[in-house]
Amino acid sequence: MSASVDQSAQGSPALQLHRQLAAIWGTGPGLQRLAAVNHSIIGRRFMATAFVFFAIGGVLGMLTRVQLATPTADFMTPGTYNQVFTLHGSVMLFLFAIPLVEGMGVYLTPKILGARDLAFPRLTAFGYWCYLFGGSILTGALLFGVAPDGGWFMYTPLSSNVYTPGVNADVWLLGVTFVEISALAFAVEIIVSILKIRAPGMSLDRMPIFGWYMLITALMMVAAFPPLILGSILLEVERAFHLPFFDPTRGGDALLWQHLFWLFGHPDVYIIFLPMAGALSTIIPVLAGGPLVGYRAIVVAIIALAFVSFGIWVHHMFTVGIPHLALAFFSASSAIVAVPTAVQVFAWLATLAHGRPRWNVPMLYVFGFFFIFALGGLTGVMLAMVPFDWQAHNTYFVVAHMHYVVAGALAFPMLAALYYWLPLLTGRMAIHQLSVPAFWLVFVGFNLTFFLMHLTGLRGMPRRIYTYTGEEGWNWLNLLSSVGGFIMTIGFALVVIDLLAQLRYGRRVRRDPWKAETLEWAMPIPPAPYNFASIPHVEIGPDRPAPDGLAPSLARGEGYLGFARNGWQETLGVHMTSGAPEQLIVLSRSTYLPLYTALAIAVAVLAMLFHFYLPALAAALVVAGLFVLAGQSAGLSRDYGPLPVGQGVSVPPHTELAGSPPWWALVFTLIADGTLFASLLFGTLYLWISAPNWPPPQTFTPDLGLAFATVVALLVAAAAARGSQRSISAGGTARGWIGLAALGLVVAIAVVVGLIGDIVPRPTEHALGATAAALLAYVAFHAGIGLLFLLSNLLRLRGGFLSSRRSMDPHLTRLWLDYTVVTGVIALGLVSALPALVRSLGT
């Protein structure tokens, strides 16, 4: 049956519709703002917070330049300098660059794709709070003099508790991992939203190029962040509980940390670059006045770039003693990654060459980007060549290259994008009298600061030193770099003044001031919380919907969902490739749950930081409880069947369809989880092959009977989950099946805990025991999460959220338990095989 459509509001159709939708989608005043889940609000918060951290990171960078401006300076002590430069890098990468990308994606993606919001508004808000609290812990530590001080990549053994006995390294490990929850939440959110929530008719080949960039970036994040999360967990476990994953005296290996870190670290450069390239690919055609040249070539290039960027992590480790043949693989990969990047650059140049470019502020920053990125790319190819890298490694040449590719490739497109989309955010244009000199100050200051660092590096100045004697020939280079740094900072300050002035004095604009052709301009600016009063149908593309003509009819409700119904926040789900309307997605409304959940995690993190492990465990249980509680208000509590969505189309709500967003969210979450598991397997085998002090003096005898019993218990749980799914689909209560599945999981956990207890050497004595314990703990943890799935199923059955039509929950539980079985078999198989592998090493 269909629900009623409200018709009570007064006024013109557009105003009437606006009032109705604003009442549903709006966020309350005062403290209720803390409950906001709307993507526009969260996106703006992400970006504003990222800019605050950018200012903090910038000040820290300036402090390092003050210290290095002259020889033998005592502006800072060595200990303070270590904290300042470590936090500068960590803040810029983890608290500015990545979150800015996330904020941009959260704010723009639904608007450009013609949707009202992202797929999981509560997850968006949760990600933001995790970012804010994690970032605050990381930067707040500086005030107490306990900020991380081991370099932004936290190399072991320097970051181990032998050489960093205080909490400095713990702050980094726990704080950054907390922030990374936000990154993974964003990645899953964006992938599902792009694949399933677009304007009807927007097939993937008609999707604006920005959507492709964000999709590929989010997929990269799903695979790139888990290795670092694993590394951070293992290092924190080593520091807190003495399991020696990275300690070479007990069978660990410091190089394992480098592998795990750079498996994240190198793709991260492209994770930062690709969204900015997406912005450039959107802006350049508009300012050039013609379509983007090479749409298909760009799509292929970014797919290639995404993969190849993972295969070059070892080029950060060329000097650690890797065999020459392996160096050749990674050197060749590092060189070839320039090709897909060049495809994009030439496509942009061709777009400019075919059009009639408008010289304005965004275009100034685009040209600044070309200059900076070309230089950074060229020094990147130089460093990809092993003989040159051996000379330049660990010098300021690398610092210069890194700032050209990361800072330059981020900062200039970021400012181009900021000036381009500013009218969308504020409804006003920037004041060009200020923005043009600001550009030149940033551009000149940037090049003066960082170009000279190439020369300082080639003259042998190592990274991370806090002072120098003055006899090395670096004096004038360092002084000019510092002067350049201040010029750049003045430029950024002018940008801030320009933005603030613009809020007050900027020229008001109506929609589409650039004559762009993407959908974010087909709405009133600044946008309403629901984005589109009705959702457009896209018939041509990509990037060609002519928003200026489209906007009035959308405001009158002449597209899809041009009405209010049941107080629901509605948007449309589409077929993944064709964009045909498929499902009505009813989104969650404002709630404090994301804030409370992130607060509970913050309590757990702080408790772990101070080694209060029982309170930390209690906080973790609260987090688990809050996640189960969140499930109790998700979805619809009755069957509706197909509902009209406008244009003569009726589709079922997402709760009654198999391929709905939660299903795909779990699929991509498990891909991220699988990457973490693969990294754990890699770590185990890497230590077996490469670590010193193997084999250990004694080895456990695998208890194949108990391992088999664990697998059987997991299989029983997975089979019972299938029974539960069938029972609910047939209209049953499935309580027996759920109980059986829970019993299987409890047995599996109990047996695995027993297996951990029997490991010899003990997990604290040798890396063999530590890795075996980690593999088994992984199985137990997933079985534990499986219990939470089952508990949620029971509660939602009781609450009336499940029926024969609304049977997504048991599908999700089955998928989770299937994954647990597969990884459990692999983990238990490897643990059982470890003693034989150790014996193969001889003595």
Binding site: L195, S203, L204, D205, R296, A297, V299, V300, I303, A304, A306, F307, V308, F310, G311, P323, H324, L325, A326, A328, F329, A332, S333, I336, P340, H575, M576, T577, S578, A580, L685, I689, S690, S840
Partner: protein, 114 residues
């Protein structure tokens, strides 16, 4: 040829990544065989043979995919979207083939455990 009315199945999206997934497998396999061979002091001849076999097996798989995609007219039948995916998948596979040859070709030439 008339375009089909049904939409392109989402499973075809995998073809965009398939070539490079095989490249990933080739990189990991070659790196692993190389590390294990050098750790256990395999003699150079068998180790190089093993590495070369792994490389060529992966090249054969990508080559087969390229060949299959080239003749996969049914994808193009799904209208404009099908044609887009077909072209993108073919070029992504060709790029994966070239990347595999360029990045891992050294296994057939250089000293193995130096």
């Amino acid at each position: 040829m008339t375009a089909r009315t049904c939409p392109l199945p989402p499973g075809y999206l995998w073809w965009l990544a398939a070539g490079f997934l095989v490249w990933c497998s080739a990189l990991v396999s070659v790196y692993a065989v190389h590390a294990i061979g050098c750790t256990f002091a395999w003699s150079a001849g068998p180790l190089r043979l093993g590495l070369t076999l792994v490389l060529f097996a992966h090249l054969a798989v990508i080559g087969w995919m390229w060949h299959r995609l080239g003749g996969a007219d049914q994808i193009r039948d799904f209208g404009q979207t099908g044609a887009f995916f077909h072209m993108a998948a073919v070029w992504a596979t060709i790029a994966a083939f070239a990347t595999t040859v360029f990045t891992l070709g050294a296994t057939t030439l250089l000293n193995v455990c130096m």
